[in-house]
Subunit: 284 residues, 4 copies
């Protein structure tokens, strides 16, 4: 895959802002691989993402900031420039269910997810076998013989020591403390096994079975301190019938979870997601 | 389409009951067009539907009841036998949105929905043009210049006078009084413009927009006095993105509504639905 | 709906072209409602569509051409500017199947398809009833008592007299002569009742039944003289099983046809489609 | 999972056959977990599958054959009785693509596919790492330094020695010789990376890209000597747009392949598939 720079911007919508950015990019010889724009008609907020062929571009990341500052300031932009060569460091948090963990690991191994995975953290020891195969350091965090507070302090230390950019709750099943949610704001992604906002909280498949819905799903979203209420990145659904047992629903749901999670991670890792209030713009 | 009889049964699961029914049908020369079985593993309740070629069957509907009574009694069956030649009488209730009304009417007109439509009832006069084209009696019920109670009394009289078997709320937008819900129990179907249980109540598309979900949907369900809580027959969803405006969501949602409603009606009219507690078995 | 101008461009990809267009638009005060870009990485061809708020824009359509000519020439652009107020004139060609015709008419009537429909042409008289309800002139063209050549000459005259911009084959079932295909190139859309390239030609549902596929579909495409080989705009599929009869497949397929056709028409009418060789870029 | 017996029957449709089977099952105390029936209206062939709770049933597999023989003979039945405790022995054939192999292995490991996997055979050595992790014997078969004929003779010996019941071509990419196809008839399953019959043969994603289709897919089917023409068990599709590169199509297609293959295998392993001519009845 060729090296690219991603310039991601959001700001109030104004005439002339696309022109200003385009002229700036053209003056610096940017070959644009992909460009996406969106204006939210209700809030008049503008969102823009450019993916630029790195070797075509005159500026490096450091020079860019200085050169771009006047434009960013003029149009009151939130912006970031990321380099596909700087791979984000992603930590996987797991529990006793392996399907999401395995799916993410295999996609990463086969080059579909462009990141580093410096560690896997789990509150069940049996996940170690998967980590070992991929030669990824594994950390068991004990949630039984110490307090939740102590356990999460341990996790927080691990995330810091490994300089983690993105924390993924791959069916982790433990509720993060508010302080950690805030600290990881926009940098922690969860997969919930229902089509949110339906069936938030515990045992969503049983809830779905009891309500008699005809489709079940999964939701990939950013973690916030309001449980299962964070900005949604991606959702998947699958049809069920009366003949699907609770086991069938779990099996079908797992496929939704894997697809929703891996799509959500790919979007995030490629800087395709912009969080705005409690929603996302996803330039898929 | 050939004439068929539909025998629909639910009862506690027991060894020998399928044999008893099959032998009874074979002894009366039934050629079975379609047979469906389901055992709910949690409640051990058994559900069965047979569709029988009418001209192959020795018994008429009246004789059937007498002959079948001992078996039904032995196995504590709820059962019904319907004849495809006895077309259910379906009333359509509409408001100012025409898409569901038009879709049902065209499917009925082209033979996809096997029923009679003796009347259309609406609280907006402009639906009359659609009724006229199909030569169906139209009744405007005024919800502005009389009380809701009076308006619903008028509707109830119409349903009785027309001897309606199935009342369809094709985006009717008025909440039926509890007494009418109970009276029409299992014989009134609503289309709700969200993927229930998400976004029950008013303005589901705005709710979906505000929450930032990535799929929207529609739910066809039996009417109960608990609003939007009745047994679900069919659901449909469609993918949306940040670039879909509220108008786009309404447009996409309409297609979900039409599909969910027409599927739900077809299942009901062909006696493919069995209500059990607050859920449905649908032999689609 | 607000009035918009749509500027649609394709040209060889080059650094500076987005900047040139953006600066031009900004200098003329364009408020951009929607902007879409695509670079085909294999052919290095660039595609771009801007939707501009009409009342924000300094130039009218005539002045635009003169002012934009130097840029268009410099970057070897194919381009068009259309005004949402200039509604395309769309003719519907039908046969004896009404579902696509009715669906398009109702969507048009409810404002979902932004065009005029000056005439409906059919080789079966029974479509007249639908035309009449919508007060659209209806023309029966006899394919039995005159030669195909004569019949198509009649159709061609009608399309000319009505100054038709877009000819829609809404399950027309007659193969257009090569000369007419060429004359209407890029301005005639067909709905084929299979998931092309599978089951091109006659009786696609029977072909699908015989092959035992587990999904069927429909394809909306531009008409070319190579039957069912034109550029595809939109496709839809639906799941089937062994229990679906030929009739069930037709019923399910109709829903695919309606959705694929109406999506394809909406994209075309909003100038969201760019044909490139035998493929399309669709800025949906 | 509880132990079950599966009785799978197909025969000419006749009055009395369901009664005969039901009475036989009831007389032997069978508690029926699941029952499925289908009559093909065109050929009047009848298909039936019963899943019976093993510990409720008076007869063992051997006694069953004797007791059931008269009924089978009377109604000219093809039939089989399988025991969920007798796990089929499944061999995986792979090449250099690991996604299908890994997906099947993980589903098998987590209990979703009820079979034994006595060996993995591949024409690329790098698949050994996956086999090792699951402690499954791995056999590299060299297709470069020996003739195809020799290589396939080696594979055939392995399948025999391991007493393989089901051979799975998990993106094996080598065309089986006719004699082997015939020998494994109904016992070899392939995953093809297109929505057949579209894009049979080599490089289906490139074919799909060149044709400009808007959905791609995958097909799980039984292997026959007519390449990509065997009875289809399951198909999956996913939406693509002009912005999907060839790489994106491969990535999206892989998810279709995994889902179609694992569904197809689960249906086969649970004896839910009946092959009839070149089509399948799948009691999913």
């Amino acid at each position: 895959m060729q090296q690219t720079l991603r310039l991601v911007i959001d700001c109030p919508d104004q005439v002339g802002l696309v022109a200003a950015v385009s002229v700036f990019l053209a003056e610096n010889d940017a070959t644009i691989v992909e460009a996406s724009h969106h204006t939210d008609q209700q809030t008049r907020r503008f969102f823009m993402r450019h993916e630029i062929q790195a070797d075509s571009f005159k500026l490096n990341k450091q020079d860019f900031a200085n050169a771009f500052a006047p434009i960013a300031s003029q149009f009151q932009m939130n912006w970031r420039l990321t380099d596909s060569a700087d791979k984000p460091r992603m930590a996987l948090l797991a529990s006793h269910e392996s399907h999401c963990l395995m799916d993410v690991l295999h996609r990463w191994h086969s080059g579909e997810l462009d990141c580093e995975i410096p560690c896997i953290i789990a509150n069940h020891a049996k996940m170690k076998q998967f980590a070992d195969w991929y030669a990824i350091p594994f950390h068991f965090v004990d949630f039984k013989n110490q307090s939740k507070q102590q356990a999460f302090a341990e996790i927080e230390r691990l995330l810091e020591n490994y300089q983690i950019d993105l924390t993924v709750l791959a069916r982790f099943m433990q509720i993060l403390p508010d302080t950690l949610c805030e600290k990881l704001s926009g940098r922690a992604i969860n997969i919930h096994h229902s089509f949110l906002p339906s069936f938030a909280g515990a045992k969503p498949y049983q809830q779905a079975y009891d309500r008699g819905v005809k489709l079940i799903g999964a939701t990939c979203h950013y973690v916030t301190k309001d449980l299962d209420e964070g900005p949604i990145i991606e959702q998947q659904v699958i049809r069920i019938t009366h003949s699907d047992s609770a086991d069938d629903m779990v099996r079908k749901g797992k496929d939704c979870e894997k697809t929703a999670l891996s799509n959500g991670l790919r979007y995030h890792l490629q800087d395709r997601v912009i969080i705005h209030h409690n929603k996302t713009v996803v330039f898929a």
